[in-house]
Amino acid sequence: MNTKSTHFRFRINALTTAVIMFFAVALFGVITQASADTSNSRYDAIVKRDKLIAVTMTTIPPFAFKDEKGNLVGFDIDIYKLVARELLGDKEKIEFVGVGSAGRWPAILTGQADLGIGTIYMRRANNVAFTYPVMDTSINLLVTKKSGITSLADVNKPGITVANLENPQMKDRANRFFPKAKTIILDGSAAQLLAIKSGRAQAMQMDTAVNDYYAALNKGELISLGAMLGDMFGNGIYCQPGDFKWIRWLDTFVQELRFGSLYADYREIYNKWYGKNPPPQRHYLENN
């Protein structure tokens, strides 16, 4: 009787679980279908809502981070505000969805956010639509001074540990540039920084701008290695794929930002966060 009762209880639990799983899958299917419906452009939805929703990480200075007053600031944040100003007439008509590194893509694909800014990779372009680059970027290594690392060759050794994010691009770069080093995977640049400062790792892979910022904050302790891991990349605005009106608007925005009527705003923002002028508006103009 007792064994029967145990088996009966187990069968009931299994049945309940199967029913819950069925409904969960069905619900996700409905959500996916709803989010894939692009008959109405996001552009119209934002104008109607009168508010822009941007997805961003919140711990990657100088792109997006909290200042001492708790406000979200940074280069990306100023670009988002400029989008809001140009689209809705007010740079404050914006809401930010803060996520970790891996949370950016679901936030866009499920429609929780209208746009984000991130490094353009072809693998990512299979899932989200990117604009032209908002800025040039590169990846390098931030190392601790006490590790004695001064070049890429010093990193490619068995005793060295490098902190990466979850993305496959970092894994590819690790295999290419320092296959002999050990890698550990963390979920944000703040955790990576903690890893090298605590001695868990001796180096971390991140955007050069972020590493430069951290090195400036920790002078004498951390060094942003000059050598790039690979070539230059572009950081672009991304949104849901298949929405021609919205991606065209964003592309026009980026084009005007870098080469046209918004260049003055771009120069101001670029100067504010990087302390230098952006690439010239037109390479063939001398006084530019």
Binding site: N2, T3, R9, T32, A102, W105, R123, I185, D187, L194
Partner: protein, 215 residues
């Protein structure tokens, strides 16, 4: 078939599932042993023991488990202790779950019939004999239903270890999501595997309860 396995990262998921199970078992054993030590402390050292353990329980019950996980993983190397991430994670969960499980043991201890102790003393059993032959067996039996739920919680706590580089199921789901761009199925796969593991735990404890209660 091989393509299908590769496309859905099945091998990696199964490995991650194995890791989650191993971590849960290690943290459970650690938690139960540590809780047993705390329980022993409260019963043997009287008022001082009770106050010290109560303070410990309050601290660990009222802080999120991610905190000890971070403190052990990132903090210990600063004092020269560098353990592997999985060991750090298990140790942190053990510290926290020890607090919860010791409370389960305390509740079970309270529900033991006091007449048994009078009877034990009347036939001349020593303090240690009473503890090992009367208290411990009954505490274990009375604790089993709550322990089952606690082990499920421990398994779910292991998902936080992805924050400190442990390649368990949540880490696998996040990596798969980054690699494929898929939104739901990487996490649904992880959910299905967690459900499989929790059902196994449920079944194991249901059997264990029947085995001891009707003996």
């Amino acid at each position: 078939m091989t393509d299908w396995i590769g496309k859905y990262y099945l091998i990696e998921y199964i490995q991650a599932c194995g890791w989650a199970a191993v971590l849960a078992v290690a943290a459970t054993l650690g938690g139960v042993v540590w809780a047993g030590a705390l329980f022993f402390f409260t019963t043997v050292f009287g008022r001082i023991g009770r106050v010290a353990v109560a303070a410990y329980v309050q601290i660990f019950r009222n802080t999120p488990v991610l905190l000890p996980i971070y403190l052990v993983y990132f903090g210990f190397p600063m004092i020269g202790i560098v353990w592997p991430a999985a060991v750090c994670g298990c140790f942190a969960i053990t510290l926290q779950q020890g607090a919860y499980v010791s409370e389960i043991f305390r509740g079970s201890y309270k529900s033991i019939d006091r007449n048994l102790y009078d009877a034990a003393q009347s036939i001349g059993l020593s303090g240690w004999q009473i503890f090992s032959k009367i208290t411990v067996p009954q505490v274990i039996v009375y604790s089993l239903p709550s322990l089952g739920s606690q082990v499920v919680l421990i398994l779910k706590d292991t998902s936080l270890l992805s924050a400190i580089t442990v390649a368990e199921l949540m880490m696998q789901a996040k990596r798969t999501q980054e690699a494929t761009g898929a939104i739901y199925w990487p996490f649904l796969m992880a959910a299905a595997m967690y459900l499989f593991l929790t059902l196994f735990i449920d079944y194991f404890f249901a059997r264990a309860q029947k085995a001891v209660r009707w003996r």
